[in-house]
Amino acid sequence: MSELASPMIGGRRKLTQAEKFYAASQWQLIRWKFFRHKLAMVGMVILVILYLGAIFAPFISPYANLYKSEVVYSPPQGFNIIRDGKLVAPYVYGSKMEVDPDTYIRTYKPDPSKIYKLLFFTHGWEYNLFGFIPTDLHLFSVEKGGHLFLLGSDDLGHDLFSRVLQASQISLSIGLVGVFLSFVLGCILGGLSGYYGGTLDTIIQRVIEFLISLPTLPVWMALSAAVPQEWDQIRVYIIITVILSLQGWCGLARVVRGKLLELREEDYVVAAQVAGTSDWNIITQHLLPGFASYLIVSITLSIPGMILGETALSFIGLGLRPPTVSWGVLLQQAQNVRTITINPWLLTPALIVIITVLAFNFVGDGLRDAADPYVI
């Protein structure tokens, strides 16, 4: 054959390229296809930034829980790098507050007479980085007397930028923890259902049908309203996550069961059985790769549901409660139309929720396309 192919030497390199494609493992193919998916890459970058922000939240945020009651409802501020037409180190203006005598609405105006320099890598309040490295280093702060509220401040004078970062630790993790719970439940119950079949399968399928037909939010509301007021933050966090995963596992269990049943009948699995492959090898070499990709896709696509659920519950005050801060808890301040009309920056957490969910959906979509062996 090689002699026959020899006249077309030019085609040699191309052939190896093709061979590389055919010889690639399933995961390699998925990775290649995923990295080619532009939207998924955009989503991936956004998610990396968001999660880095959550991990380094205390380092990045300048103000923690300290608030300045004298600067309530300050609009978002920027900083300047040009003074008198020259490039200088970043600085912020001081601000002057005026209260409208009729409406009592406060307005803040920059006061060019006062100038505060922006300081980087400063020492401030103490915290544990990653939960165990005690430090007091912060990315930036403002010279004494000035302040910088990148996203404005709330009704108590909290820096919204710091609060959003702090809240992202809860909001972003609740999705992962909830999905992990759903994943474990879904795999076990879906696996049992698909593996044993029979009565057990019927029961689990009926339970799933029942749970899926429930209107989620009213049930969530009723369950979380029953959480005792005196419970501490961590217990509330855990129980809310459990409530959110109550329905989440159903979808995963269906994927696991459906794929198990489907794959068990697949010709290539039967062929492997006939060829005398051991059960262990069939499961790890044939079944698992067959649906692991589908699982990853389902998991990615169910994270946003969890995040949205937590936000909705906390928003109406039935989910996480202060002092725990999540994006939903932050949005509680934005329930009143008048408040958000005057202080629209209070809706920033909403924007961040939307961006997060979009990013997860992009990545999930990209993964789905990449995992589909019939789409090249």
């Binding site: 054959m1 192919a5 006249p7 077309m8 085609g11 093709a18």
Partner: protein
């Protein structure tokens, strides 16, 4: 049996597909004609362009594909007048979605597809789907159309035609579905039936019945058939003439007797050697064609078959595309029969 007048004439047809990986020359300069009442077999491996040729005639090529060159002419016979007054229709110039081509489709040129499983809509009854063409082309109302549909179903040997009319596709067996498909194609008395591997998805017994049926119906209806298959055995039984295609090109065009008795092109010979024959010694090993079909984005220079050809002439076959040569009664596209090509180009 055959009429000297062609029914359909394909000249230098090129249908190319633009896809992300490059340009696929699915049909790359194909010429042939079919006379009325005649059966033309089109043979080739999958991907050789035989189905695209058929789709080009019907103007059913997907949007990614375009007829970039060539001409397809349809000679519409008026059965009431004598045949010399055939109306000439240039199919290539028609709008693929326009009313003229739609008038031809189903009414004058009908098509039977490979997979009877998916060729019918799963949510409409067989009767609904057969009568649709009749109502479109024969100006019938629903009742007349259903009546005619039952008649046609009876004609294709369907046991309970009226019951089949109200059945859904999933209630019928594969063979019954393909019979229904043929009935649908024949319901409007087309002058050309294009059958694109109509028996590939069926078992051998059913296949034999369907082939028998098509031959019988051709005899009684007098239509031409373009029979596309990769199965040489089937084509031997069905066709009057055969064209063998390889990578979008015709390599040999001959009568069925010539092709089987005296194959000229190395590819045809290789194909014939690769099927078992009852008249040969049983201990002789079946040959397979060496090499693989190249991928469609990088068709070799010169003769497309040269990388796999056992009779390769280096310096010629891999450089110059062979022209058609008349050898005996066959048309062959091979340098072996034309050792001095018109213009020897320098190797690249």
């Amino acid at each position: 049996m055959t009429n000297p007048e062609p029914l359909i004439e394909v000249q230098g047809l090129k249908t190319f597909f633009k896809v992300r990986e490059g340009l696929v020359r699915a049909v790359n300069g194909v010429s042939f004609s079919i006379k009325s009442g005649q059966t033309l077999g089109v043979v080739g491996e999958s991907g050789c362009g035989k189905s695209i040729t058929a789709q080009s005639i019907m103007r059913l090529v997907e949007p990614a594909g375009k007829i970039v060159e060539g001409k397809i002419t349809y000679y519409r016979m008026d059965s009431h007048n004598n045949r010399t007054s055939a109306e000439v229709v240039d199919i290539t110039s028609l709008n693929p979605r326009g009313p003229e081509i739609r008038h031809i489709r189903g009414g004058e040129i009908a098509m039977v597809f490979q997979d009877p499983m998916t060729s019918f809509s799963p949510v409409h009854t067989i009767g609904d789907q057969i009568s649709e063409a009749l109502m479109l082309h024969q100006n019938m109302n629903k009742k007349e159309a259903l009546e005619r549909a039952a008649e046609t179903l009876h004609k294709v040997g369907m046991p309970k035609p009226y019951r089949v009319l109200t059945s859904f596709p999933h209630q019928l067996s594969g063979g019954m579905r393909q019979r229904s498909m043929i009935a649908m194609a024949l319901s409007c008395n087309p002058s050309l039936l294009i059958a694109d591997e109509p028996t590939t998805a069926l078992d051998v017994t059913t296949e034999a019945q369907i082939l028998e049926l098509m031959k019988k119906l051709q005899g009684s209806l007098g239509m031409a058939i373009m029979y596309i298959t990769h199965n040489l055995g089937v084509v031997a039984e069905m066709a009057d003439e055969i064209i063998v295609m390889y990578l979008g090109k015709i390599v040999e065009h001959a009568s069925v007797v010539d092709l089987f008795e005296n194959p000229k092109h190395p590819y045809t010979r290789a194909l014939l050697r690769s099927i078992p024959r009852v008249d040969k010694d049983i201990d002789e090993r079946l040959e397979s064609i060496t090499g693989m079909v190249p991928d469609p984005y990088s068709v070799p220079h010169g003769c497309p078959f040269h990388p796999r050809c056992p009779s390769l002439i280096p310096g010629i076959c891999d450089v110059i595309e062979p022209d058609g040569v008349r050898v005996d009664d066959s048309q062959v596209y091979c340098h072996l029969y034309n050792p001095e090509p018109a213009a020897v180009r320098q190797p690249l």
